[in-house]
Subunit: 380 residues, 2 copies
């Protein structure tokens, strides 16, 4: 199986991820932050280490400002719903995932107003369109860092500057960039950073997180046991406890730590260059096949390792089915949970066949993918 | 290390839990329910199998009425907040965990009214007290199945009958009973069942779930990508998608399935008898030590394998520290995130030293615990 569905979840993970998860479960499978005995403390320390590693990766001073969640979507809901109040105005873009758009749509029912800024045909945002959408009620700008449909990289630093200048909270969904691209919450003026753990951060499924800038007031949407201030019936207000009720996913978080450690060891730049090189080669080869339509920037410098294509007017599911069945290549067809992105690039009916490259893909994987696409073109 | 903190999380897990999680990560670590290729389908099937196993365990007809969550607390929040509306009245008990009490307290701010029925000194509820608390606005009764402080078993079937007779929704927190005690949602008239996956169900941390009876209208508190109806900006309303946004914890759910399979193979009754036998022995031996105060029913037939004690007026944290440090025995001190339970049994200041027995504890473990308590009594 050639796995080119890394934008959905990376596979495989580094060997250390599997091993550390196994070790966490077998050797110190107690409940961290609760009981205070040796095994519980060991679990608590392991979780803290992952917080620290993520802090290093994203240039976050205080690891306690990082909250662990069930997945990226959980984090986006926590931040969007905890921040916004009736009357608030939000600016977002047409390239967002449903994990951003659906919570915002739900918040419209309680009086939040949303402006969805249209991106251009290759998924690029015009900074002026964001600026022109700002009004007195604008509380939040929320954008992706890289589109999960076209890979298009957003000018996060510029948007961050704009938000800061206008005293607006900036939230970034780094689902497709964390673990590959430089993310510096200070330099980029990011107030809230939301990440899944199981994509390019190379952790297991069941992990994700949110960084919340110090001083930003976010309401908790859940309450429960935190192991802290157990005498009170109200939720403790200190971070991360305020947002981390119930038993955490200790082995998952340990696995995420191993993933981030792998990234820091190999180097972001090394991973990025590897993925860029394969993306560049793939796009160049696909350009040579006439029936293939490629979406997005078609430029490895301007997009993450996500390449969406179609073959003529062929249904994207049909093409993906053949890739899986005949060529043993795993990709994702359809709308990728981002319907407005497909309206933006003109593929709402057809969907796209999405190839997404990970740190363990090889040049040969991409060669085989190119050959497979070529063969399908000839057969159809 | 003698691990007697199984009420916090069971440790160890059955070997098959570790192995199946490892296998899921290494062999089919794709994103289930999304892409449609072989690996994604295998992940989706594995998740469905766990739903089916839980359905078997709890006598739930349709596995799609089981929703996977991050942990038990996540499930309780989902159900409590999704069900209740301003003006609704809720009846609960003084033996509940903060994962029930804190969300209810938070809901009071939006106009939900709560009656907390006082239990007696051993944590027992009087059915009449619940009945007398019912009024025209009573929408929900929520109780634990077994106390996490005293182990006291609640008359769930009787409460279920009472709720049904009065057309009230009955929600049960089975954090301390699922995997050991018979739970039949039909026979017990349970409308909403909430379980963590990592306690006696023997799955890994990062898992939990909620069963919602067919026809019961619960609002979703989160939205996001579900892999279904991706063209829409509103959340799909079918179960379980309505409540399962974002990538699920596939390896965790696979591990939970292995845990439930172990339980079904070994037999609930066999596990229960094993734990009862150790509980009976432990209580009997502790009764012989004069300085030891035992809380709860002190009767293995009337309590889960959770035994809370104190040694004279000694601080529970101090005793637990000695048990860990000197005797290598892991227990949990303090309030166990259930402050009102401690007010009920009279240990709000002192807390209790909680021993909790799991399916892999041995007679020798309990003998050593008894000896350790005896030695501590002599030293203090």
């Amino acid at each position: 199986m050639i796995y080119l569905d890394n934008a959905a979840t990376t596979f495989p993970k580094p060997e250390s991820v599997y091993e550390n998860i196994n070790k966490a479960m077998r050797e110190y499978g107690a409940n961290p932050g609760r009981s205070g005995h040796k095994l519980a403390l060991q679990g608590g320390r392991a979780i803290y280490e992952t917080r620290e590693l993520l802090g290093n990766l994203f240039n976050i001073d205080n690891p306690m400002n990082i909250i662990f969640t069930h997945n990226g979507t959980d984090g986006l809901n926590l931040a969007i719903k905890g921040l916004l109040k009736p009357g608030d105005h939000v600016i977002t873009t047409s390239m967002e995932h449903n994990s951003v758009l659906r919570p915002l749509k739900a918040m419209e029912k309680v009086g939040v107003k949303t402006t969805i800024v249209e991106c251009d045909k290759i998924g690029l945002i015009d900074l002026k369109d964001i600026e022109n959408s700002i009004n007195d009620d604008t509380k939040l700008i929320v954008t992706t860092h890289a589109s999960n449909v076209t890979g298009t990289i957003f000018p996060v630093k510029e948007i961050g500057d704009l938000a800061e200048k206008n005293n607006i909270v900036y939230m970034v969904d780094v689902a497709q960039s964390a673990g590959v691209y430089e993310i510096d919450v200070k330099d980029m003026k990011i107030d809230i950073l939301v990440f899944p753990g199981h994509k390019a951060l190379l952790g297991p499924q069941g992990t994700g997180g949110v960084y919340i800038r110090k001083g930003l007031d976010i309401m908790n949407m859940k309450e429960g046991g935190t192991g802290s201030k157990s005498n009170l019936l109200i939720q403790p207000q200190m971070l991360p406890d305020k947002f981390e009720s119930g038993t955490p996913n200790t082995p998952g978080i340990v696995g995420l730590g191993a993933g981030v450690e792998y990234i820091l060891d190999r180097g972001l730049e090394s991973i990025r260059n590897h993925e860029k090189e394969l993306t560049r080669y793939f796009i160049n080869e696909l350009k040579k096949i006439e029936a293939v339509k490629i979406y997005g920037p078609k430029d490895a410098e301007k997009q993450a390792a996500v390449i969406s294509i179609n073959i003529g007017d062929e249904d994207s599911s049909e093409v993906s089915y053949i890739l899986d069945k005949v060529f043993n290549i795993a990709v994702r067809p359809g709308l990728h949970c981002a319907p407005l992105a497909h309206k933006t690039i003109g593929t709402f009916e057809q969907g796209t066949v999405r190839f997404s490259i990970g740190p363990f893909n090889t040049h040969q994987d991409i060669e085989k993918a190119v050959q497979a696409v070529g063969k399908i073109v000839k057969q159809i």
